[in-house]
């Protein structure tokens, strides 16, 4: 499917310039005309002054565009992610013929429908913000990406058509061929959504790692080169995975909200199951996310060492400590939710004693994960410490220690999942003991390998070895996740159930873990988004098109954190509004005596 998508994007980018549409100027035509007129086909990036940026009294243009872009991105991430797992859940329902999956998928897509309107409204707000406050930048970008922007707008029709038929036709397209048609619509919806995101990613990443332009910003006319810039694929990968994790967390918060407000036992059971499924999706996507993040960061370093150092070793370094705290909070809350959820099973008592060890390792790894390398100290404190590095904390503040810590957190989360999964089951295969021993050996050998790499390559070699050895660490973790899941699947195939699972038998505090998950994800995305954008420093398009506005400086981290926090609060308020809307849409008030009686 991905190949088809790539081909579609490629075709759009390549064929776009060849299409002779009225009102749309082909770059090839421009090049031909200009050769005769001896003028450049495309002008260089404009050199602006502060006077070239329109202002509106009382409005900070940067903050306005920042808020609009961030809110648009949160909603877009949500509405792009939900159809991905709705499609998967619907397919599971079709394969198992279990109607509960179909109903669950429908409820998920229902939540995303109102959010879709918000996405479009905020996208419009962002476009107007750019046109009003940054007209020269918008014009420059539109001159390079005119084809992709044009098709992007057209694709919205396809996206809306797919979404509305998919949602409103859910109960109509049921059974046999109709159900397959419905599933195909879901696939189309995801395909269009993914292409939309990839196109928007191209514009964003072009501003970070411009391609298809020379040092003066003169566009070569190669639209595909501009789209397929250096950071496009790393961002595509990272955003796709992150969106799924984020969508899962927001839907999990919805389920928690419904669970806490439900009064009937059946409703609590239903929303408990929904919350568990959403959390499962969020965590399944969260596990590979740090690796996608490392890949993106490595590519940023590869593109521009200065940009890389600015991000993790320069002004933004302390935001990465906040990022570490939030990622740790994500892992802790996800694990905590799973441990609470083991209460649904009568067989979980067999595994409860292991939870404290998992908690100790995760908390220990979390502490290492967010230990800073250097501290902000006064002279007196520096003197008392004997230097900028604390003798114990200094070694834990460097990346090799953090690589080991995050891999351990991921492995322990996998283990929590395995314990949860088997809590209500008794394996019936003859090789169950051998299978358990193999799994324990897999985890032990894998953890030993990660510690070996972290300690030996991290502290007894040079930087080249330290960076290079992070790849086998990642692969070790991935092997553990895949191999242990496969062994577990085979071992518990045809297993006996201890007793029926008691959906709804979960403490209320577990639901607050789901809220924490959604809020931490939102805040994290906002802060990291600020870093990604802030890496351009005083450039609109890095190294090519200089920002000459009054706001062409990097704001302090405190200021940026306040803006992102404000945006998070606004987003959460809008999300609560969306949840409330979905609740009131199901309510009916009998209007006794209001309507006149109709004759029979």
């Amino acid at each position: 499917m991905k190949k088809i998508l790539w081909l579609a994007v490629l075709a759009a980018a390549l064929l776009g310039p060849c299409l002779d549409l009225p009102g749309i100027e082909s770059p090839l035509a421009v090049a031909a005309d200009s050769s005769t007129a001896a003028a450049p086909a495309h002008p260089p990036a404009p050199k602006l002054t502060a006077a070239d940026y329109p202002r509106i009294a009382g409005v900070n243009s940067r903050v306005f565009v920042w808020l609009a872009a961030q809110l648009h991105l949160w909603f877009a991430a949500f509405v792009l992610a939900v159809p991905i797992f709705v499609f998967i859940i619907e397919a599971i329902g079709m394969a198992t013929r279990d109607k509960r999956y179909d109903e669950l998928a429908y409820e998920f897509i229902k939540v995303s429908l109102t959010a879709y309107s918000f996405t479009a409204i905020l996208g419009g707000l962002l476009a107007f913000g750019l046109l009003i406050f940054y007209p020269h930048l918008f014009q420059y970008l539109a001159s390079i990406f005119k084809e992709s922007m044009f098709y992007y707008a057209l694709l919205f029709f396809a996206e809306s058509a797919c979404l509305y038929i998919y949602y409103y036709g859910w109960h109509w397209l049921q059974g046999g061929f109709k159900k397959w048609t419905h599933l195909t619509l879901g696939l189309l919806l995801n395909a269009v959504g993914t292409v939309l995101m990839f196109l928007a990613n191209a514009w964003t990443t072009f501003m970070m790692s411009p391609a298809g332009v020379d040092a003066q910003g003169v566009f070569s006319g190669d639209a595909w080169a501009a789209i397929h810039n250096f950071l496009w694929n790393p961002i595509n990968l990272h955003r796709t995975i992150a969106n799924v994790a984020y969508g899962g967390s927001v839907v999990g918060a919805y389920a928690a909200f419904k669970f806490l407000s439900a009064t009937a036992k059946e409703q609590r059971a239903h929303y408990d199951w929904m919350g568990y499924t959403a959390n499962f999706i969020a965590i399944a996507a969260l596990l590979p996310l740090p690796f996608a993040g490392y890949y993106l960061t490595a590519e940023i370093y590869a593109y521009s060492q200065q940009m890389g150092i600015t991000s993790m070793g320069g002004i933004f370094a302390w935001l990465f400590i906040i990022q570490a705290v939030l990622i740790g909070a994500l892992f802790l809350s996800a694990n905590y939710y799973l441990w609470c959820g083991m209460g649904r099973s009568d067989g979980a008592a067999r595994y409860n004693r292991y939870i404290k060890y998992l908690a100790i390792v995760i908390v220990g790894a979390f502490l290492v994960w967010f230990t800073p390398h250097t501290l902000i100290l006064t002279n007196a404190e520096l003197k008392a410490l004997g230097g900028p590095y604390h003798k114990y904390l200094g070694p834990l503040g460097i990346m090799p220690a953090k690589n080991g810590a995050v891999n351990l957190m991921i492995i322990m989360t996998t283990l929590s999942f395995l314990l949860y999964r088997r809590a209500n089951k008794i394996a019936t295969v003859a090789w169950a003991n051998t299978g358990n021993a193999i799994q324990v050996a897999l985890f032990t050998a894998g953890i030993a390998n990660i510690l070996f790499i972290s300690i030996y390559h991290g502290y007894f070699t040079n930087t080249v070895y330290k960076v290079a050895s992070s790849i086998p660490q990642v692969l070790t973790t991935l092997i553990i996740i895949v191999a242990s899941t496969v062994i577990d699947f085979l071992m518990y195939r045809g297993a006996k159930q201890v007793a029926p699972l008691h959906w709804g038998r979960v403490p209320d505090r577990a639901q607050y873990a789901l809220f924490l998950l959604a809020v931490a994800f939102t805040w994290l995305m906002g802060l990291m988004g600020y870093i990604r954008s802030g890496l351009r420093q005083h450039w609109h398009v890095y190294g090519v098109f200089r920002d000459a506005s009054a706001d062409a400086f990097t704001p302090t981290l405190g200021y940026a954190a306040n803006v992102v926090t404000g945006a998070t609060i606004v987003f959460m308020a809008l999300v609560i509004f969306v949840f409330w809307l979905s609740q009131v849409s199901g309510r009916k008030t009998p209007p006794s005596g209001y309507w006149k009686e109709q004759p029979a």
């Binding site: 003991n433 051998t434 358990n436 021993a437 193999i438 324990v440 050996a441 897999l442 032990t444 050998a445 894998g446 030993a448 390998n449 790499i453 030996y456 390559h457 007894f460 070699t461 040079n462 080249v464 070895y465 290079a468 050895s469 790849i471 086998p472 692969l475 070790t476 092997i479």
Partner: protein
């Protein structure tokens, strides 16, 4: 306990070798060795 010990020991050695082979191969692919050579 015995029924766990033997498969554990065999699997531990097997996985240990697998992971070391993986470390070696990945480092080699990057033009480096498993053991640091300054």
């Amino acid at each position: 306990m015995k029924e766990y010990l033997k498969p554990f020991a065999i699997a531990f050695v097997a996985f240990g070798l697998l992971f070391l082979a993986l470390d070696y191969a990945i480092m080699k692919l990057q033009g480096l060795s498993l053991i640091f050579q300054p």
